[in-house]
C-alpha cells in the first residue's frame, strides 16, 4: 500500500464504517443518519454509530429538512416598553454530515439549491453540509430514479459515495468537500482492490435493471405544459384528497409559508413548509382561487416538476424518482404513472414515444 492520495478509492470493513461515524462525532461534527424509531426509518442527528441503521432503503422523510427545516424562525421581536427590538435567530455553525442518504436524495438537494440557494439561511447550512450517500443495493416498487436521469449509484450532489460490497464497503470522494472529509482518514484505510469499484457499480447496474418504470424524457416538458387544459387531469386526480404528504416527503419540493406567530408583546416570524395541494395555498383575499379544484392543485404539482421547472431551469425535471410520494400517498397517487398517462393521451406524440 503506497502513500494514500486524493482521489483514491478505499475499502472499509463493516466495523470501520461505524468507527468512522464515531470519529466524525468525536470531531464535534453533527451527523444525520438513518435510525429506526417508533417503527419509522428516519434521518436524525445521532450520538453514536451503533444507533445508525445502515440497511438499504429510503427513509420516511427526505434529508431536505436539515437544510430547509419544517419550521424556522427568520427573526424574533420583542416589545420593550413600546420600542420594538428585533433579533436574529442564534447562529448555528456546526459542520454537519448527511450520512447514508440515497443518491436520489443527494440529487434532490441539487434541485433545492436551484430554488433556495439565494436564501442566506439555506445557503449557510448548505455550505456546512457534506453529503455521504450510500449506493442502493435494492429498489422499492415505487423507485424510478432511472426514469429521470438518476441511478442507484448516482453521483449528482454526492460528496462521498459509499457502495456496499459483500464484505464491507467501497468509499470514494467525489468533490472537494468529500476529499476534505476523507483526507484525515486515508492513512488508516485500506486501498480498494482493483475491481472493487467496478463490482460496486455493477451491483448498482443490476439494481437499475430491476426498476421497471419507463423513462420520462426531459423533452416531454413542452408537451406536458400543453396538457394544462386537458380534461384528463380531472380524471387522474379525482381521488386526490388534498393532504400534503407528497410535498412534505419530497426531496425537492421547496414551497413555504411565512407567518408571524406571537402577540403584541413578543413573537417571531416563522417560515414553514407549505404545499400546492392545499386549497389555502392559492386562495386570494378576495375569495377567488385560481386553482379552485383539487385536480387543478394536483396537476400543479406534476406540471411544476415535469414541465414548468424544467422549462425554466435548463431542462431537468424537479423530480429525482425517489418514489416517496407514491409510497406514502393515502390514495396511491402515482406521479410517474400520471405523466405517462397524460403523455399517452397527447395527440402530438411521436410514434413509439409512449409505451407503458
Amino acid at each position: 500500500m503506497g502513500t494514500p492520495s486524493a482521489g483514491q478509492i478505499h475499502r472499509l470493513g463493516r466495523d470501520q464504517l461505524a468507527s468512522w461515524v464515531d470519529a466524525l462525532l468525536g470531531e464535534r461534527k453533527r451527523v444525520f443518519a438513518p435510525v429506526l424509531r417508533r417503527g419509522l426509518r428516519v434521518l436524525r442527528a445521532v450520538e453514536r454509530a451503533q444507533d445508525v441503521d445502515f440497511a438499504p432503503g429510503r427513509t420516511r422523510w427526505s434529508p431536505k429538512e436539515f437544510l430547509f427545516p419544517r419550521t424556522e424562525t427568520l427573526f424574533s421581536y420583542e416589545n420593550r416598553d413600546g420600542v420594538p427590538v428585533l433579533a436574529d435567530p442564534p447562529a448555528d455553525d456546526v459542520p454537519r454530515i448527511l450520512f447514508g442518504v440515497q443518491p436520489c436524495d443527494a440529487a434532490g438537494l441539487v434541485r433545492l439549491d436551484s430554488i433556495l440557494l439565494q436564501d442566506p439561511f439555506y445557503a449557510r447550512r448548505r455550505e456546512l453540509t457534506t453529503v455521504v450517500a450510500i449506493a442502493c443495493s435494492e429498489a422499492a416498487p415505487e423507485c424510478f430514479c432511472t426514469a429521470v436521469g438518476g441511478s442507484p449509484a448516482g453521483q449528482e450532489g454526492v460528496d462521498v459515495l459509499l457502495a456496499p460490497l459483500e464484505t464491507g464497503w467501497v468509499v470514494r470522494a467525489l468533490s472537494p468537500k468529500g476529499e476534505a472529509l476523507l483526507a484525515p482518514r486515508r492513512g488508516g484505510w485500506e486501498t480498494a482492490a482493483a475491481g472493487d469499484w467496478e463490482a460496486a457499480l455493477e451491483q448498482a447496474g443490476r439494481v437499475a435493471g430491476s426498476i421497471g418504470r419507463r423513462e420520462l424524457p426531459a423533452a416531454w416538458a413542452e408537451k406536458l405544459e400543453q396538457s394544462f387544459a386537458d380534461p384528463i387531469w380531472d380524471e387522474l386526480a379525482r381521488r386526490c384528497v388534498g393532504c400534503s404528504i407528497c410535498a412534505y416527503v419530497c426531496p425537492s419540493c421547496s414551497c413555504f409559508d411565512v407567518a408571524d406567530e406571537g402577540s403584541d408583546a413578543c413573537g417571531s416570524r416563522c417560515r414553514t413548509w407549505d404545499s400546492c395541494s392545499f386549497r389555502l395555498f392559492t386562495q386570494h383575499g378576495s375569495g377567488h382561487n385560481p386553482r379552485a379544484t383539487q385536480p387543478a392543485r394536483s396537476r400543479q404539482r406534476v406540471l411544476h416538476k415535469f414541465a414548468f421547472y424544467p422549462l425554466q431551469h435548463g431542462g431537468r425535471a424537479m423530480c429525482v424518482g425517489c418514489g416517496r410520494c407514491i409510497r406514502s400517498c393515502p390514495v396511491g397517487m402515482d406521479i410517474h404513472a400520471e405523466v405517462v398517462e397524460v403523455m399517452s393521451g397527447r395527440p402530438e406524440k411521436e410514434a413509439g414515444d409512449v409505451q407503458r
Binding site: R70, R239, A259, S263, A265, S328, P330, D334
Partner: protein
Amino acid sequence: MTEPTLQARTETAAPTWKPQIAAIVCNWCTYAGADMAGTTRREYPASVRLLRVPCSGRVNPLFILKAFEQGADGVLVSGCHPGDCHYVQGNYFARRRFAAFRSLLNFLGLDPRRVHFSWISASEGIKWARVVGDVTRAVTEAGPLTDWGRASSPAQVTLPEPPAPRPQPAAAELEAVTGHVRELAASLLREGKVSFVLGWAPGPSPGQTIPAFIQRPEDAATLVFDTHSHADLAAFLAGPRKVSGKVAVLVKACDARAATTLLAEGQLVREDVVLVGVSCPGMWRDDRLAYRCHSCDGEVGALCDFTVSAAGVQPGALPTGAKRATGPDPRDLQNAHLESLPAAQRWAFWQEQFADCVRCYACRAVCPMCYCGSCISEQHRPQWVPTSIDGRGNTAWNLVRAYHLSGRCVGCDECERVCPANIRLDLINRRLALELEQRFDYHAGTDPEGAPPLATFRPDDPQEFIY
C-alpha cells in the same frame, strides 16, 4: 392573554414562583360572584386573570388549549348553576363539551390539577374565593407548566400487542365477493341508476388498493375487494371531497357507520347515494389484523341498499351470515396500559408522537367526518392553530382534531393508517369515543337520526368533575 407576564413562562420552580391561572367566567354569574367577593372584602389569591364571556356555552374548549399554549399554568372555567343559565341552555351544552375535552386532556396526560370547572352564582362570592383558593393550591402543587409542546423526558412506553395473529380469510371467498361487486357495479351503471361507483382498485404498491371512481360498466372489472380495501370511501360523500351526481359507494362495516353519522349530521341526502355493504372479513395491516377489526363482526348494518357477500348480492341490508369471531379490542388494551402509567409519562408519550407530526393534514383529508369547507386550522383571525410545525403547533392541531371528532368518530382508523409519522390517532379517537359512550350512551354511527352527543344535552348529565 397577550400580556408579557403571561408570555414569560417560568422555566423553573423558583421559590417566588406563583401560578398564572386563566379564569374564563360567565358574565351573568361567576363574574358577578367574583365582584361580590371583592365588595365583601373576601380574601383570595391574586393568581387568576379573569376572561369574561357572555356564557359558559360561549367557551370553546379551544380557549383552554390557547391559555395553556400561551403560558397559563392552570385554567378555571366557571358558569351558572344548571337551570340558571341566562340563555336557558348554554351551560348544559358547555357541560358536555367540558366533559369531552377534560377527558381528552386527562388521557393525553396533562396533570389533572391544572384544569378546573365550577358553577358559581352572582351571590356566591364566598364560593368564588374558596374555589380560587382550591384551584390555586392545586396548580401550585402541579408546578409551572414547562412541557406544553414537548416531552420533558423520554417516555419509554411499549404498547402491548394483541396475541397470536389470525389466519387470513380464504382467497376464494374474497374473489367471490370481488366478482359480485363487479357485477353489481356494472349493472348499476348500465341501468343508469348511478353516475359513479366508488370502490377499490389495485394501487401502485404491491398489495395496495386505492379509491376508484368507476364511470363505465366495462371498467367495473378493475374493482377488487380484499384484505387491503382500507380506504373509507364515505370520505367522498361530503364536504370538499364530495363527488357530484348520484353515486353508489362500497362500504365495509366501519364505512357504513361513517355514512350513518353523515346522515345524522345532515351532510348526506339518503336518496343521492346507493350504499353497497360488503361483507368484510377484516382488514390486514402488514401481517396482522387491523386493530379495529378485532372487535367488529363485519356486518354492515341496517342502512344499506345492497349487501354483497361471497354468496351473492342481496337487496337491502341483510345479515351476511359471515359473522367473524370477535375478541377484545387491542386499542382498548393499549389504552388501558397507557392509562396505568403516571400522567407525566403519558404526556411524554403523546408529545413524542406529536413531535413527529408534519402537519400534512392527511388525517383530516381521509376522515369522512372532516367535511368542513374551511378547517379551523386554516383560520388566521384568530389563529387557533399555529402554522409552525413544532411542538406547540402540533399539540394544538392534534388536540383540535381529536376534540372536534369526539362523539363523531366511528373508528375507521383511516387517520392512523395514512399518518406518515405513525401517530396513534386511533388510540385517542377510541378513548374519546368510549368516554362519550359511557357518559351519554351515544354510539357514533348507529343511528342516522340521533342527535350528535355534543349537539344536545340532558339536564341531569353527570357533572362529578365540576366544583
